[in-house]
Symmetry: C3
Subunit: 269 residues, 3 copies
């Protein structure tokens, strides 16, 4: 066991790696400034290491439209009522516990043994600017600035920031290859986009590997609020409308099977 | 990290404080007599300190009537069938794991960083008699004596015990101020009441800050069983019928917005 | 606290016992080969001790047919659609996290204080051959070979393996006594059966104490996939159709009340 006590945990994980260049990928026990310890996976290899897993988003059941397990959107159904019923969904993108204490976010979300993570990943990319520093320091503060809330703004003018990524595995072309040609037409790969609002004013939390060009983010971005007006309830879920024209078909607006069944793992350092 | 091993954990937390008068509020790791360790927040300041957080009750989604997240009443809907279908609800008021092992109860329920707890609280009060000692020693034993079960008795004769409180923040008048005048008329502030049965024989687990005078406990008490007959399903949920005449309106039978959005944190010592 | 670090945790628990013959039943902290620590209950008494609790299956709400809490079958309802909608259910019988990291499986599932486990058990039995070694080494690998998936095969030819058990408490006759005579007629007690497919091609994960003789496993086996065709949705749930002819009646196809309200605890060594 590796136990680390430090007010800033991602700093601590960087320090583990810099003080011990042989530190390996694995589960590390971190301690928050309030004294709470938690375990999470750290990537000690990519670009010098020092990365802490802070969230894992995957679709537990594609056909379940905002049902049990859709913690990154809503577990209460697609709730309209003029959009006032459940605009934030389960609210986990702006929940202190989620990103402040990562164990809540990740503990039951691992889909594969973590030692297989690197070799089973479809693509791996990272930012190399200080995007989060500019937005308050972490995803919690970013999503306070850009709430994942229904009807909070319009696309494209109120979308959140985008940032280019560096690929450790894959390429912009490979990112695009996981989606249907009709969908690929809607984004530019090689970026991350935060809080993308769709044509119907439903927010998507994160576009993993692209920035949007047209406002149909529900076909390639993940996470969201509690109401997706279009084709109610067909777009509501952690992977939104990845299955809009059938599960894994990679035709029309549907994503391919590989990306539909993937988990999006988010790391800080 | 503070690790404490002691058969009686609340005793242990008192001992931490008495042996180290500088012990601060924070997360402490406690170890049960069976050797299970768990982390929970301890209040080391109030009245000499030594308080352990054992449960946190809040309404995750007021409009969701006994849906996902309503762990202190029912997550299965408002289930009648002559009251026999789900009289105990999810049963967490009488679940050993809930109060016996506090981490189950609190781990994903923090709404704010715990360092903000004291300054963001609306009111703080405590008993100064030995109410729980008289009822078997803890909430688990108290609720064995007074089950949170539909149709287990009548109001007022079968209600559970009440106990006066001492305010560390607020006052009886302030407690009353969070509710509508129509509701204030139903209780006497300055108390805690356990297991209050309403007119329709639905039990409410806890009235935080008052004892009931009239039997409409669903408008100011929290937690309950799995069936609330009146206005089915409108009163079913962790904060029962706080929104009976609209969310946060503080009119008719509705509570005000502040108390509707608060969490009720329960500490032992 | 007992902290154990070892690549093979069940090996480690055996080693605790063999190095310290006085090791008692209780919660032990184990560390996986990836460095993740978790706590679980160990039985240090039965047949020389060294047993690790890896899962606990019980029916949280018998009348809830694949609703919240039915993690060992489906929490999404009984989902047909030609059987293609949700054939694996929640998939926890083949989830690495469930058996690979036991805490996920057991942490909120204890029904009684664990010190009462031994004396409150209805029956206790164990295998004394190397059934799991023959099937890949653990339940995760066994259920990879015999998926708990709707329509994956037919009864009896595609059922999983059976293995005789040794009773530490009870007997084959006592096992049979918990079920209705109509049900007893369907199995031979004194065995464990893995992945039993019923007449309608719904898989049951585990038959605790018996091997099937007729293909109505839904009345005595537990756990399953996400679709039970017969009497839709009446057979869907962690304890399937234990209540087919009424709750706890022990008449017709219904099990008795004691076994309906029991938890099935699974230990490795």
């Amino acid at each position: 066991m590796n136990i680390v006590q430090n007010p800033t945990n991602t700093e601590a994980v960087k320090e583990i790696k810099s003080s011990n260049n042989n530190a390996q990928d694995g589960i590390y026990t971190l301690v928050t400034s309030y004294g709470e310890s938690y375990q999470t996976f750290c990537d000690m290899m990519t670009d010098g290491g020092g990365w802490t897993l802070v969230a894992s988003v995957h679709e537990n059941f594609m056909a379940g439209k905002c049902t049990v397990g859709d913690r990154w959107s809503s577990q209460q159904g697609n709730l309209g009522g003029g959009g006032v019923d459940y605009p934030d969904g389960d609210g986990n993108w702006a929940n202190y516990a989620t990103f402040g204490l990562p164990d809540g976010a990740t503990s039951d979300d691992y889909k594969t043994p973590l030692n297989l993570w690197r070799n089973s990943s479809l693509q791996r990319f990272r930012t190399n600017n200080s995007i989060l520093n500019q937005q308050g320091g972490n995803l919690f503060s970013l999503y306070k600035l850009f709430p994942v809330t229904y009807n909070v703004g319009r696309c494209p003018k109120d979308n959140g920031p985008t940032v280019p990524v560096v690929y450790d595995l894959g390429s912009p072309a490979r990112t695009a290859s996981f989606y249907s040609p009709d969908v690929t037409d809607q984004f530019t790969p090689g970026y991350i986009q935060f809080r993308s609002i769709n044509n119907e004013r439903a927010p998507l939390a994160l576009c993993p590997g692209m920035k949007i060009e047209k406002c149909n983010a529900e076909h390639f971005c993940v996470g969201g609020g509690g109401f997706f007006p279009e084709a109610d309830p067909k777009q509501c879920g952690d992977f939104a409308a990845y299955d809009f024209n059938g599960y894994g078909t990679k035709r029309g607006n549907s994503a391919g099977k590989e990306i539909t069944e993937a988990a999006v793992l988010l790391f800080y350092r």
